[in-house]
Amino acid sequence: MNIALLASVFIIASCGLIYELIAGALSSYLLGDSVTQFSTVIGVYLFAMGVGSYLSRFVVKGVVARFIQIELLVGLIGGLSALLLFLVFAYLAAPFKLVLYGQVLAVGILVGLEIPLVMRILKQHYEFKDLVSQVLTFDYLGALAVSLAFPLILVPRLGLTHTGLVFGLLNALVAAWALWLFRKELGGLRWLQAQCASVILVLGLMLVFANRLTNHAEESLYADEVIYRETTPYQRIVLTRWKDDLRLFLNHNLQFSSRDEYRYHEALVHPGLQAVPGARRVLVLGGGDGLAVREVLKYESVEAVTLVDLDARMTTLFAQNPMLRALNKEALRSPKLKIVNDDAFLWLERDQQYYDFVVVDFPDPTNFALGKLYSSAFYRLLERRLTARGLAVIQATSPLYARQSYWCIVNTIQSTGLKTTPYHALVPSFGEWGYVIASRQTYAPPTQYLPGLRFVSSELTPALFRFPSDMGPVTTQVNRLNNQALVHYYEAEWQHQAP
């Protein structure tokens, strides 16, 4: 019996520390500033243990039964802690800290109660000096074991949620064990057994379903209802909808909101395409949602459109899903359209056609792979594909939030000998957004547009090309394959913007 109880001290100690580590790690992940998170969590936790130790004096009768119940409670609260915190963070951002510290406090108090109670249970079997020595030895040993296992084995192999649940179950099993050891001395055995079984059942079920729940929590990071999700070899596609607002996220980055995407796409296509009267051949790079193609197809002179998008799942989805087809006006089913699912850079290197108008609508340069699509080498290839009067328009991130990035793109295009005309438009979902027209001949903005546009007009046009001084030109490096200057600018600027 003595060995059994000391082993349970070891387990209790490890469990106690695990919950503290989970709280610290999780709050560091979710809130950042790991030094603050860890030290406040540890502080609150140790303080709570003190409170627990103090409170242990008020447990007078039925020490063993109380010990069993405390174990169950620690197992339940601690075991569910990671899961609970994930869910709280995903659903309700505000009271996260309240729940975090409340839970740290609760677990701390309960863990603080454990050791004094164990010592009182064991005191009939040991002399005082041996008791203190034995219990504390196992207590600290458990702490060592778990603090090593946590970063090396548990988090990498199990993840935070599962680690919590597994240790919660261990707590509950210690309770079950104690129940069995003291079965002859305890009253109300049935009631305790029922408590024990239900806690084990709850934790066991959670362990089985935790994946589904955390998925759910992840989805809740999106404000609206998720109506479609798919992980393709290239990206994670998520579509959300709230009332009439349909939103597309690629790798968690918003690509469009159906409420204002017309602003983005009208501004992307019409200032350029309208300035090439009688344009016949058009190329769209990126933009597998078909929204830019929709705008392009409004021109009767356009005979052939080639859409190059890496991800076949994207173009298929936007050609088939009724809701998305309505949004892009069946653009991806147009007989004038040829869809190519290939890497844009490699495809452009092989392509032999010439185009009157090219739309370059890639995701923002968030990493070195995407940075290549904004390099001087890429624009040099692009230049070769333009007809003499042809021009290209490039989406170029926000000149307001990422001013250096924007002008780096402009300067990079310019470095290849193309003429550049920067402009911008306000798209509420994105903020102030930037584009660049690249052309061989000097570009002159159109004075007239197609009828039926909702955003771009001849009255608006001069404003598109005027840059207020807070987003005016800056000198930057040219983005080359061998320096990837743009990715560095972009990282620095958007990090700065983050709340």
Partner: protein, 509 residues
């Protein structure tokens, strides 16, 4: 498990070769198709001279600059990059112009390069204390003292780059033969790189790691066994510049320097004979007789050449030269060779990453006796990287070459594979799941080791002047194995040949 055809090479020890069944005449014979031999042939062909034949023991030319290829990518088996060449490396620059890598005149001060061949960013990263950092010099968690010593070291190097000897030459130049012979600089050859650092009062642990890494990477040797002159040459000789690129950038290709070899040999593919083991070289009156075993037919041919270029490693020379002078034998034996192991790991997808700097071209692990890995698909223009190939380099420099060579041969594939995966598992926990194939190439004599004293030894002088008709053209003559050195030795030998044949040519050196 791959490697040079060592049973072919080792036949030289036994000397049981069929007698030549015929004798053929040729103006020039080139023995060895590494970068030295290929450069010699390139210079001859480029000068309008084509009556030569190049004999290569292996089934393909390239030597250390050979490559493999699978469905995903080409990948190097050895040398994999070329630093931007400076003004002195004239032949290298001409070769790069021919290959349309260098886009201006070969003597342009700051030339343009084709951006597809300049190493894409990010070029290097270092895994240390569980985090990847950009660049190879340890930067995070570095003490003030370390930083002061970094500054001191790099300040010293910057001065050395500008320094000239009393003979007016740069203290360290590349090719190394053009470096100053000033005694002040030559004195550095008498101590090891490690001893030099300590003599300067630099004892910073990360600085020592960095310098040692450079020696292990370029010379296959621990810095305690590398001449300080050679160690400093690595840092202070390079003065290449390029438009739109930093001077420390390099030129690279998925298959490494094999790409350059392929470009160079375009002008003389007909003159190359592979699977050809030269087993005897005898100097006669007015000619050199070269006995060549055609390995596939097990048949020998005697080639009678007016001039011959010996572009195989120096240790082979003692085996094949008929009646070698004692000094030549001594010279050939004096050079120690570093054994290397190169592994190519074909991966299903990019491996999982630890935190810090993203995947670079060259990825180095601080606490590792190996040299890290380069990514063969790094120069790909593709946005999305699926399967890839990692080339893992390991100079077996922490024991004596002979012992290391035995270990290289006696350890089975599984033993090496396990050590490699265990090393890579630290930064990439899922590497074992991603590896589809792991090929190992064992280089028993990968490169000469520039030990203290190599520079001023009689050995190199001996190799430099074999005879009026036989010219040595292997980087062993420089004492260290670099493309620039092999190229210089090869071109210099070709020019001696052209001169001896009284042909007109424009010098490239």
């Amino acid at each position: 498990m791959l490697g040079p055809m060592f049973e072919r090479g080792h036949r030289l020890r036994g000397r049981d070769f069929p007698a030549p069944s015929e004798t053929r005449n040729i103006d020039v014979a080139i023995i060895g198709g590494g970068v030295g031999g290929i450069s010699a042939a390139w210079k001859l062909a480029r000068s309008g001279f084509h009556d030569f034949r190049l004999f290569e023991l292996e089934d393909e030319v390239g030597g250390n600059a050979r490559a493999g290829q699978n469905a995903v990518s080409a990948y190097p088996w050895g040398a994999h990059y070329l630093p931007l060449p400076g003004q002195a490396a004239r032949a290298v620059r001409e070769m790069l112009v021919d290959a349309q890598v260098l886009l201006d005149a070969s003597d342009a001060t700051v030339p343009r390069y084709d951006e597809r061949y300049l190493c894409f960013a990010p070029q290097e990263r270092l895994y240390r204390n569980g985090v990847w950092q950009e660049g190879l010099l340890p930067r995070t968690g570095i003490s003030k003292r370390d930083q002061t010593q970094y500054q001191g070291f790099f300040q010293y190097i910057a001065e050395l780059k500008q320094a000239r000897g009393r003979d007016g030459r740069r203290a360290f130049d590349i090719p190394m033969a053009l470096s100053s012979r000033d005694a002040d600089f030559l004195a550095l050859d008498r101590l090891s790189m490690k001893a030099f650092l300590l003599r300067q009062g630099w004892d910073s642990e990360p600085l020592h790691w960095y310098v040692n890494y450079a020696c292990r990477d370029d010379y296959g040797s621990d810095y305690a066994e590398v001449s300080a002159w050679a160690g400093l040459h690595y840092f202070a000789s390079r003065d290449g510049r390029a438009q739109d690129a930093e001077s420390d950038q390099v030129l690279t290709w998925p298959e490494g320097n094999a790409w350059l070899v392929r470009k160079m040999r375009e002008g003389f593919i007909q003159q190359i004979e592979t699977g050809a083991l030269v087993f005897r070289v005898e100097q006669g009156r007015g000619h050199v007789d070269i006995d060549v075993l055609q390995v596939a037919q097990n048949r020998s041919v005697r080639w009678r050449a007016k001039q011959a270029i010996f572009a195989a490693p120096a240790f082979v020379l003692a085996h094949v030269l008929a009646n070698p002078a004692a000094e030549i034998q001594a010279a050939a034996r004096a050079i120690q060779y570093a054994p290397w192991l190169v592994a190519n790991l074909s991966l299903r997808a990019l491996p999982e990453e630890r935190s810090g700097a993203p995947l670079a071209w060259d990825n180095v692990l601080y606490d590792s006796s190996a040299l890290g890995y380069v990514v063969a698909t790094h120069q790909n223009l593709r946005t999305y990287t699926g399967p890839t190939v990692l080339t893992y380099y390991w100079a077996l420099s922490n024991e004596a070459p002979k012992a290391a060579r035995e270990r290289l041969w006696n350890t089975p594939w599984s033993g090496w594979a396990e050590q490699i995966l265990r090393d890579l598992e630290r930064p990439h926990p899922d590497i074992r799941r991603q590896v589809e194939r792991l090929d190992i190439f064992r280089w028993a004599h990968a490169m000469a080791r520039p030990q203290p004293g190599f520079l001023t030894s009689a050995v190199r002088q001996q190799l430099g002047q074999l005879s009026a008709r036989l010219h040595f053209a292997h980087a062993d003559a420089s004492g260290f194995s670099l493309l620039e050195e092999a190229n210089y030795c090869g071109v210099a030998a070709a020019e001696q040949v052209l001169r001896a044949l009284k042909l007109r040519f424009a010098s490239s050196i």
